[in-house]
Symmetry: C4
Subunit: 230 residues, 4 copies
């Protein structure tokens, strides 16, 4: 069942480790098959050394496990909420990568200070507000998905122009047209997170990119007039 | 004698190097066998390349070597004091890992600024006070154990809810239900130490986690209602 | 055609990855053959794993592709403008290496604070101004070359005494008498970028090198009286 | 001639790379044979890949090459001055390692903020003053040695209690009873340089170690009452 997607999701999860985006098992990637309406996600708490494609868990958009001997990642309800909301997404990645998570812990947006950022994210990467106490208690992982979508809505963004978000006090989620692409954005976010941590310490917010440079870099790489490649 | 525990303690010590938690031989892990009342600890000053399971030193809770051709780690009295005090501990780890030690050098608690922290440590990781001059002179390593336990007592904590402590001007100790688990917490502490060093530079103490988020993350992973796994 | 130079340019591009100067494909190196007036440059968007010497693209100084099945790097017009301007250059390298790019993002010159810097760069590494909106829109990569040359002219510098420049909000370019040498300067710049990020956080601009030390280090390594080697 | 020392000096130089203390060839280690009064030092500008024990250069204390096909390291006069001055030294190491050099660039002493420091260096690691213009011009590398010794004298220190020094705007030198030991101190200095860079950013100079803790850690490891080993 969904062997090809399981393989892809497995490889995307393994890539997290290769790209130095995870400590222990602190990360998870999922992939969506829109034809069947089923999501494939990493199982919970299995070390990368032992993980196999067959361990991947299949779930539907009603939050039910359809196939899999192992428990799905605890964060599965966040992923499923977001697939329900953004019916073009095909991959979601969550990590606790060190620099991106530092920005989440600081609780501030990651400003666009360079073209590395602008090539990938159209504006500051938003940081969510805090969840209410009641939502934390009742249905925490689901509410995290609601919070992410609410943040995008408030900013007039969606995961296509902004394939990354910082969940306050927690960690980043990234999005893509495939599980691999979601992981790629997780690496971009981590790299930009480090660069901008450093440029912020050197010069604060004074040299954020101007709109015209943001437009140029974003649109030369994305959309119908793109021509980019280093 | 205690061959299985020696192997475990040996592997936990070797893991320190694999997880980039030590420079040269600056770290030591011990394990406790409560049935016999004996502790197994790394010998003093042996490089990781040359270390073997048979080199591990066996000591009793009266601070005496029971078996072993090599001298035990200089820090053995700290470990033994803590096993005497916390009779549920089965592993203790001490390192000079770079970020955790930076917080010890700063002499301040490591605040909880994110869920990576809250998943593992129930509140700020405490930093001890300074030892008195007389205690430093008389029985330094033993007094370090006394200081750690006094700090936990003052904060109404114990090494189960808070499996890590920062010894002021020195380095971290971590605790666990096995030698492996103590090393795992040493890695968590180092990672969180880096994240929070960075988020502190970005935003000071302004975005520390609220109690409800701390509760949620800590209790979804620990205790009778735990359901966690990424 | 230009097989030797293609090999050199290929190796210089591969070296970027070995020296930890690139994430994904975010970098490009070119080499110039002055006899034929032709430039060899990395193709666009090919991963380092798949890159071969035969993939290199040959272009002339009129910005035309002379040979090559793949598209040249998007940044090719910047390279070509600079070869036209500095007819002694034989290699150009562009990266988004993390520390050098942080200085670009901060939008400030990288001050000379030590002899590591002075051995290689005769004074602060200049950071360019911002490009005008119109230039960004019209011919962005070409105008980036113009901006670099204008910055050198304003400072009375050229890429021989100063084989590096920081393009504001973007990333560094480095120069050399060969593709390899341009990459070497990219590594020097990254290293000095980290050292000076740190010394700046410790002591601001207070301990910049004095002119006499700058002269000594630069001229013991470069020019007719050089005698240097560590 | 001095085959054993050449091998030792060769291995100590290779260790610089293994311990991540050098970029390119920016470092050099020497060893002294007091019986013959001869020093063995790394040749100038040879990459670590190509270096062999037979490449090592033999010099006497009058600054003359006694044996060797290659030029000695440019820094040889600094080494020789110091062997002349401290007739117990058997190894000297110079690097541009990143954190230690950052402190040199800042131009301030590296304060003792923890026991990792106190275990190895008895007090703050001194940073030298700046050299006069005339001394830089006339005999720069020799004068660097004079400056190092003058700094130790002014502070009532010598390379036994303080086997490291920060040359202002330049880089660290470390000392030992063997070439290996000098490299070991270079690694300790780099590690402590990172820890204290970080603790300084967290809490300034407020938590420097007190004299009694410095004494305890230094003397439990060094001198006649030493008993240390982790």
């Amino acid at each position: 069942m969904l062997e090809k997607l399981k393989q892809e999701v497995y490889e995307a999860n393994m890539l997290l480790e290769k790209l130095n985006l995870v400590t222990f098992t602190w990360g998870n990637v999922s992939g969506m098959d829109w034809e069947s309406g089923l999501m494939v996600i990493k199982p919970s708490g299995v070390s990368y050394e032992k993980l196999t494609p067959a361990d991947m868990v299949v779930m539907d958009l009603n939050y039910q496990v359809v196939e899999g001997k192992l428990k799905p990642s605890t964060d599965a309800p966040t992923h499923i909420y977001l697939y329900n909301k953004y019916r073009f997404l095909q991959g979601i990645c969550h990590t606790h990568s060190i620099y991106a998570t530092s920005w989440c812990q600081a609780g501030v947006d990651l400003p666009a200070q360079g073209t590395t950022h602008a090539d990938n994210f159209y504006g500051p990467v938003p940081c969510t507000k805090h969840l209410d106490m009641q939502k934390i208690k009742d249905n925490y992982e689901y509410e995290t998905g609601v919070l992410i979508a609410a943040t995008f809505a408030e900013r007039n963004l969606d995961p296509q122009a902004m394939p990354a978000i910082l969940v306050n006090n927690h960690g980043p989620f990234t999005f893509g047209e495939s599980p691999y692409k979601a992981v790629e954005y997780a690496k971009v976010l981590e790299t930009v997170g480090q660069m901008t941590f450093q440029s912020y310490l050197l010069n604060g917010y004074k040299n954020n990119v101007k709109q015209e440079l943001l437009d140029k870099h974003y649109f030369r790489k994305h959309g119908k007039d793109s021509y980019y490649g280093q």
